[in-house]
């Protein structure tokens, strides 16, 4: 059974069908990308998964549970983390506070308890996790700065780190590398691989940068006008000269580069 099973998700907006009968699978430990032109319905699909929008039809099973029946914050607690296309940090809080807010959402002590100074032990545990993640992602030198004062790249890293603090099983990443140049994208790709290995996560992400997609994905889904038009593994394209020849003509066959 896959970690995430999406079946037949459909969403209409004012007469436009933003997502049309989308089905996909993310298995444990897999990195799956969702590509397609602008307006293809990728962000809307994410919103259906994370709970910001309710789909008009379809089922979603996450770790065996019915995801659509859970309220949005519950999905986060169930292990579904996400980042946003336009970075949504808690602007007035410092980077550190952004991380700890996520880490301690699993806390047991309530508001009144905090007013009486309880919950010190679990707070310490959450802080540990936040610190480790901050070092891993590489933002431990800006922990004290208010989140809105950071440059875009570090804001994206902070948002990623914040999602990690939630102890997720699956990360939904919405164009996490947009605005980065080539060097930064390469570094980001390496970071994603490291995250997958160390945190044993699965990822579903939307991306435009083809180099990143081909480098990192285990499986690719292609969306256009809300519909799935193609899916497959990167190798099927990379190692298949026949495919390339078919697309571009057979004058000389392509040679795979290592």
């Amino acid at each position: 059974m896959a970690l995430l099973e999406v079946d037949g998700i459909t969403k209409h907006f004012r007469g436009v069908t933003a997502v049309d009968n989308l089905s996909l699978r993310v298995h444990r430990g897999e990195m799956v990308s969702l590509i397609g032109p602008n307006g293809a319905g990728k962000s809307t699909s994410f919103n259906c998964l994370s709970g910001l929008t309710q789909p008009d039809a379809g089922r979603v099973a996450f770790d065996g549970n019915d995801l659509l029946a859970m309220p949005p914050h519950q999905r986060a607690l169930a292990g579904l983390g996400r980042t946003f296309q336009t970075v949504q940090l808690f602007g007035d809080l410092t980077v550190w506070e952004n991380l700890t807010v996520a880490a301690q959402s699993r806390g047991a002590v309530g508001m009144v308890g905090h007013m009486f100074g309880m919950g010190q032990l679990e707070t310490r545990r959450f802080r540990e996790r936040a610190r480790v993640i901050a070092q891993f992602v590489g933002i431990d030198d800006v922990l004290e700065r208010p989140a809105k004062a950071l440059p875009l790249r570090q804001q994206r890293l902070t948002e990623l780190a914040r999602a990690l603090c939630l102890e997720p099983q699956l990360l939904l990443l919405d164009e996490p590398a947009s605005g980065m140049d080539h060097a930064e994208t390469d570094e980001f790709a390496r970071l994603l691989m490291r995250i997958r290995k160390c945190f044993r996560l699965s990822m579903l992400y939307v991306e435009h940068d083809m180099r990143l997609v081909m480098a990192v994905s285990d499986y690719i889904y292609v969306l256009d006008f809300g519909r799935l038009i193609a899916e497959g593994k990167p190798e099927e394209v990379r190692n298949n000269p026949a495919v390339i020849a078919a697309y571009l003509g057979e004058t000389h066959s392509a040679v795979a580069v290592g």
């Binding site: 590509i35 397609g36 032109p37 602008n38 307006g39 605005g179 140049d181 080539h182 435009h208 940068d209 083809m210 180099r211 997609v213 081909m214 690719i220 292609v222 256009d224 006008f225 038009i229 193609a230 899916e231 497959g232 099927e236 394209v237 990379r238 298949n240 000269p241 026949a242 495919v243 390339i244 020849a245 078919a246 697309y247 571009l248 003509g249 057979e250 004058t251 000389h252 066959s253 392509a254 040679v255 795979a256 580069v257 290592g258």
Partner: protein
């Protein structure tokens, strides 16, 4: 605080004879600490079409917004017919004959088409108004058909027509068009460019910001390629069109202009897919890109999409899968 009588003085100030229509010197636009546009200089003559090209974030829209007065420049001067306009409010600049069709079209969704068209005319009545309306309907007959429809319910292409038509209601001398093709199918874009050519023939100067390089260069007299707020390349459009890889180099961010023309597209493909193409295949890819007006990245993405479909479908060589792509899907009229 602006004083209305001072404004009127400025409006009626005599334009400097012999001055170019638009002259920009050392324009710098900042958002907070980030400089979106850095020390940009160019000029536009009467009836000239200038294409402003470049990837996302290059500063093209910010330039237009500074020209039309929506943004105040941090430095530099902007002169319209010799008159400095860099600190005039946007509404005064619009009345001078410099109209801006912004990104996202800027139509009023809850007003009808007719009401939208009325807006720039500022109470013009009677014959003059009817004449202006007829002229705009001449370019865009669809708008006449849809006069009482709410602008928000029009299709994307129709909204773009409305936005441009609205700008033309007051016979501008310089038209700023920001990403007219955004979100529209290529066939619709083609039709818009044809109409734009007619507008150009009628004597309107145009500053055209575009991501689609091909059609923009075809219609322009001159072109500027921007990257990260500065000019990378500029010159007559015909020259740039011949050397399209130089343009695409800026999209890829490759340093230096020494990249060979064929090599560039091939390297994009290689980086995306990890395959080495033959020169013929590269040329074919390049033709596809130019014909469709796509950047190297976009053609790479499309290639992956198609080839995934082919691989999954197990098609034999020579067959292109019947993928319904964006352009064909919405085909037909605007």
């Amino acid at each position: 605080m602006r004083l209305p009588w001072a404004d009127r003085l400025l409006h009626h100030a005599t334009p400097v004879p012999g001055a170019p229509l638009l002259e920009v010197e050392g324009l710098t636009v900042r958002y907070g600490e980030i400089a979106a546009v850095r020390d940009l200089s160019f000029s536009i003559g009467e009836g000239e079409v200038l294409a402003l090209l470049g990837p996302n974030g290059a500063g093209k829209s910010s330039t237009l917004r500074a020209l039309s007065g929506l943004l105040k420049p941090a430095a530099g001067t902007i002169r319209f017919r010799g008159q400095p306009i860099d600190h005039m409010p946007a509404e005064s600049i619009a009345r001078l004959g410099l109209t801006h069709v912004p990104e996202g079209r800027g139509i009023f969704p809850d007003l009808t088409v007719r009401e939208n068209l009325r807006m720039p005319t500022r109470g013009l009545k009677g014959e003059a108004y009817e004449a202006a309306l007829d002229r705009v309907h001449g370019y865009f007959p669809r708008l006449a058909e849809r006069a009482s429809q709410l602008a928000g319910t029009l299709s994307g292409g129709e909204q773009q027509q409305l936005a441009i038509g609205r700008a033309l209601m007051v016979k501008p001398e310089l038209l700023l068009l920001d990403e007219m093709s955004l979100g529209l199918a290529p066939t619709i874009v083609e039709q818009l460019f044809q109409i734009l050519a007619r507008i150009h023939e009628d004597g309107v100067a145009v500053l055209l910001v575009e991501q689609y390089v091909g059609p923009a260069l075809a219609i322009a007299d001159n072109a500027i390629v921007m990257e990260k707020g500065q000019v990378r390349v500029s010159g007559p459009a015909a020259e740039l069109a011949r050397d399209v890889t130089v343009v695409q180099a800026s999209y890829l961010g490759a340093a230096g202009a020494g990249a060979e023309r064929l090599e560039l597209v091939g390297s994009a493909f290689r980086e995306s897919l990890g395959v080495e193409l033959s020169p013929d295949q590269i040329r074919r890819l390049q033709e596809l890109a130019a014909r469709r007006g796509l950047s190297a990245e976009e053609i790479g993405q499309e290639a992956i999409e198609r080839m995934l479909a082919m691989a999954a479908g197990g098609l034999r060589s020579g067959e292109i899968p019947p993928l319904v792509s964006a352009s064909e899907r919405s085909g037909g009229e605007i």
